[in-house]
Symmetry: C2
Subunit: 148 residues, 2 copies
């Protein structure tokens, strides 16, 4: 059965206190600092190689599902629905760990990515558009380079 | 000289077309999809170890400075000002590369991080709060584990 067909496509209503109503552990929910639209950026990283694969968005319920099902669930801002990564493409993200940052406003999800993370077929969403940055040179490197 | 003292603390006004007025290459600016407040999430990653260090926010001008100065500049949403990472703490981020993602709404900045990236003194902002996720088991691993 397609996992998506059994889950609500719309985000649940918020409670009177403004926190989204979801299955998320209230102790975790209390630590989150959400954007005005109730979301957190979620960085997906390949657990063993360290590749940064993509950035998605999670509301409380998406985070709850990611923490409890072993698969990454995101909230699609463009489609306004939950999506379980890989349900359409077959390129699942199997969860290894999830960490909240020091400010409570970002999560880092270490995953085992099947195939390409990017909808373009690239392994990561950052493979195609290097912006040609000037490389910074730390003072130590500068000293070595002027000594040589 | 403190680099911050010579740069405007307020974000520049937007142009008539709605795009922020900044020194950013217009060809790059045209590819960006910004949040309603004109920002992009920027993931900072240690270039050699792959550690995800932190997530900050950049407007066009912060991205321009990051691309051209060799140091990471972010826009502080709480203080509403630019900050050059490490100007206060000494923990600079020296830029190695900057890539835009496939949707144009996130940047990945590979850096050489001096010392701790996190204001708590931790190496990364994700070191202190593991959320205890259920580990997902890919079908192949499942088959191996049931065969053993």
């Amino acid at each position: 059965m397609d996992r998506m067909t059994s889950t609500p496509a719309r985000r649940p209503a918020t409670t009177r206190e403004g926190a989204p109503s979801s299955g998320l552990d209230p102790e975790i929910a209390a630590r989150l600092k959400r954007s005005p639209d109730g979301l957190l950026p979620a960085i997906a990283q390949q657990y063993d190689t360290g590749e940064v694969l993509m950035l998605g968005w999670m509301d409380d319920e998406a985070l709850h599902r990611t923490l409890t099902t072993g698969r990454c669930t995101y909230w699609s801002r463009s489609r306004q629905e939950y999506w379980v990564k890989g349900d359409t493409s077959g390129h699942q993200q199997w969860v290894r760990s999830v960490a909240l940052d020091c400010d409570g406003d970002t999560v880092l999800v270490k995953v085992d990515q099947v195939g390409a993370a990017c909808h373009t077929g690239d392994r990561t969403c950052f493979d195609a558009a290097d912006l040609g940055a000037v490389v910074g040179e730390p003072p130590a490197a500068r000293a070595v380079s002027s000594a040589s």
